[in-house]
């Protein structure tokens, strides 16, 4: 082996480049499952409760298509207007469903394996305001904000996919808003994108846009790089028509669906957490039955997003410990059923990036990640119980997510890592410390994760540096990214073609094109 490694220039280049995959301390899809808030007996009890809810209580407000499709596979439409799903119907859907979901990026390096107990982080929305720290105010979110946040997320190693973060409040028409949400997101990042549609006809047009970007319908279907977040159920246990229509069009169009059940414990799910977990999962499995009745094996992420009500006011609390606990328990059930599973954690009820925000994000995230949730949505940038978002926060949260992944990865124990020989040679006749030992040198980057923005300086250094706040550093980094980073995975040529066919709101210049 060559002893020279190129001196200063080479080392500087090495340190400023991303770590090689082999050395990286964390990767997308670290394996969770260490935190199990439910005992095995609890899991069994909840599982049978879920099946009982589906069989005995069932769903209200099913559409004609839903009733027809589900009764064809054995669901029973009652005289009371409720669609019930006996155990064998649910088991059958569980047999048919896709368990090895891949969420594709436009760039294959961002493909995500959504399976087992692998953990990934995603943004989500849809905030209606930007928590604008510099003006100390909340303001309406815009199309530019959505595109800008996509570009920022594109640069955040530990945010693995970009689900639309905000509402385009400067685009009045709902069709144009849906379409521009999609185009802004897929233009800003080559990672997998999640979007939502207000009407199925908007989705039909959006699929045409996706075909144009992918090159063809077939190319899109081979690597669908956008999934649909779909609130098909209005808890407790009611379907909702518009969303079911969007779901149907997604399945037919080859788009993976996030089957989203967002109850609020105490208001739309039981206040007792075990009941809330049961109902959330019953709702999602109901969605799975419908989905697989439309098309067996259609790609889906089961999304129990178990929100919490603050029972002093009725308001939603995303930063509560119960949010973390509920998500973790739902993940445990998801793992037990071996289904691709997503939840929502890392939200905060704070209005700005303050102590409360960081704490709520971190403890709810840890719970969900350590429990093995496959995708943790809303894991970065969200404030005020989902009403606000903040572009610079994604950069700070990226550190939190990296740290959470590191904890999820855990500790490898083997002869080498147990380090007996290292301890012996340092203690007996050695240096008396490990700072210079070969082992330290070899694992200094793979065993430890180093934050990009968090401050670990001594008070003296910190003072010399002008007492920087993490937020100031994040804003500076945000400005750099927004000035310089204009992803071009969608070529100018395709962009022109898209603009000729669809009402694109942001100018080419606003998206770094001339």
């Amino acid at each position: 082996m060559a002893r020279r490694s190129g001196g200063r220039e080479a080392r500087k280049a090495l340190r400023s480049a991303p770590l090689s995959e082999a050395i990286k301390p964390v990767h997308p899809g670290e394996t969770g499952g260490q935190y199990r808030p439910l005992s095995d007996a609890d899991v069994l009890a909840i599982r049978s409760n879920i099946f009982r809810i589906l069989e005995e209580i069932g769903f209200g407000d099913a559409t004609a298509h839903c009733i027809e499709t589900c009764t064809a596979v054995g669901a029973i439409m009652g005289n009371d207007g409720r669609l019930r799903m006996p155990g064998h119907v649910v088991e059958n859907a569980l047999d048919l469903c896709d368990r090895n979901l891949v969420l594709h990026g436009q760039d294959p390096q961002f493909d995500l394996q959504i399976q087992g107990q692998k953990v990934h982080f995603s943004t989500a929305g849809a905030a209606v305001m930007i928590a604008d720290y510099e003006s100390n105010a909340y303001r309406d979110s815009t199309a530019q904000d959505l595109y800008d946040m996509a570009r920022i997320v594109d640069q955040c190693e530990h945010i693995h996919m970009y689900q639309r973060t905000c509402v385009l409040r400067d685009v009045a028409d709902n069709y144009e808003m849906d379409l521009n949400t999609l185009y802004g997101a897929i233009s800003g990042t080559a990672k997998h994108v999640g979007c939502s549609w207000t009407h199925y006809t908007h989705l039909e047009k959006s699929l045409e846009l996706l075909h144009a970007v992918a090159g063809s319908d077939a190319a899109w279907r081979a690597r669908p790089f956008v999934s649909q977040s779909n609130c098909f159920v209005v808890p407790p246990m009611k379907f909702t028509e518009d969303a079911l229509e969007c779901l149907r069009v997604a399945v037919e169009g080859g788009m993976p669906v996030l089957l989203l059940s967002a109850g609020q414990a105490g208001a739309t799910t039981p206040a007792c957490l075990a009941g809330a977990v049961s109902q959330a999962w019953a709702e999602c499995l109901g969605g799975l039955v419908y989905l697989n009745a439309i098309k067996a094996g259609a790609p889906a992420i089961l999304g129990t997003w178990p929100f919490v009500s603050d029972l002093r006011t009725g308001a939603m609390s995303g930063g509560s410990p119960e949010q973390g606990l509920l998500s973790a328990a739902c993940a445990q059930i998801g793992n037990d059923l071996n289904l691709p599973f997503g939840t929502a954690c890392g939200m905060t009820d704070a209005k700005f990036p303050d102590y409360q925000a960081g704490a709520e994000r971190a403890y709810t995230l840890s719970a969900a990640a350590l429990a093995g949730a496959n995708i943790i949505y809303e894991s970065a940038g969200m404030y005020a119980s989902l009403l606000g978002t903040s572009p610079e926060s994604f950069l700070m949260d990226n550190d939190v997510l990296g740290a959470t992944l590191r904890m999820t990865r855990g500790i490898e124990v083997n002869d080498e890592t147990l380090s007996f020989e290292n301890i012996r040679s340092v203690c007996i006749g050695g240096e008396g410390h490990y700072l210079g030992s070969d082992q330290t040198l070899s694992v200094m980057q793979s065993e430890y994760i180093y934050p990009e923005l968090s401050d670990r300086d001594s008070p003296n250094v910190w003072e010399e540096n002008g007492k920087p706040l993490i937020l100031e550093k994040a804003i500076k980094r945000r400005n750099e990214i927004l000035k310089n980073h204009f992803p071009k995975h969608i070529s100018d040529e395709i962009d022109k073609k898209v603009r000729a066919e669809f009402p694109i709101f942001l100018s080419p210049e606003a998206m770094g094109r001339r």
Partner: protein, 238 residues
């Protein structure tokens, strides 16, 4: 006591009918606070038997009691489920008083229709407002979710409310509130009603811009605002 945080007071021996009027009314305020429907029904009947007018029972015993509940809800002392119990007790009393109030031609507390607008299925907040309004003695007709303008107009026609309430939680459905208000204007009926709007993404500016009488940020404010505006309206109508 250590095991149970509820304050237990030995109330078995309170005989409501033995209390003088002022103590009975005070006891009813406490019973409302504790959400005791049977006791409120009993207290209401006793006061009526003693010759109190239905208006006076309503104002002094029930509305005043719920006003106190409202304050402690606002201040975070009472939780939502507790306030709903109080509201339920209040409804018990109202069940007795309402027909009597109609008979005497007394001014009712007020009537409200409320619904979530077209395209929107969020109803947790709207339901909370309905329940709090009922708790404050208002008669509430709940139109549910996803209401096109026709539903509001029909309900206005049928129920002749004092207040038209609209809820929206989506930026995409908020503008529909203006459609409803504009239609009311076109039909020349806008000014006959108090229009209240609410929902998380709204604000005062928006309420003003679409021509609502008020935006209310939460259920407690809704009750307070409704009371104020209904009083003013009743005064103006003579």
């Amino acid at each position: 006591m250590a095991e149970n945080q509820e304050v237990e007071v030995d109330d078995e021996d309170i005989d409501l009918s033995a209390l003088p009027d002022d103590e009975l009314v005070e006891q009813m305020h406490d019973d409302l606070y504790d959400g005791l429907r049977e006791e409120i029904v009993e207290g209401t009947n006793i006061l009526l038997e003693r010759g109190w007018s239905p208006e006076k029972v309503l104002a002094d015993a029930l509305v005043e009691g719920m006003r106190i509940v409202g304050i402690d809800f606002r201040d975070g002392i009472l939780f939502v489920p507790e306030v709903l119990l109080s509201a339920n007790a209040m409804k018990g009393g109202m069940g007795i008083l309402r027909p009597l109030l109609v008979e005497t031609g007394a001014k009712p507390v007020g009537k409200m229709i409320i619904g979530t607008v077209k395209g929107d299925i969020h109803d947790i907040g709207k339901n909370l407002v309905s329940m709090m309004m009922e708790g404050a003695g208002f008669e509430v007709v709940d139109l549910g979710i996803n209401n096109p303008v026709e539903n509001y107009l029909e309900a206005i026609e049928e129920h002749r409310p004092d207040i038209v309430g609209m809820s929206a939680l989506l930026t995409t459905t908020m503008p529909y509130m203006k459609v409803v208000i504009d239609t009311m204007k076109e039909q020349g009926i806008r000014d006959n009603y108090i229009v209240l709007v609410g929902g998380a993404p709204l604000n005062e500016e928006f309420g003003e811009a679409i021509g609502a009488d008020a935006y209310c940020r939460d259920a407690a404010m809704a009750v307070e605002t409704a009371r104020k505006l209904v009083d003013a309206k009743q005064a103006a109508d003579g």
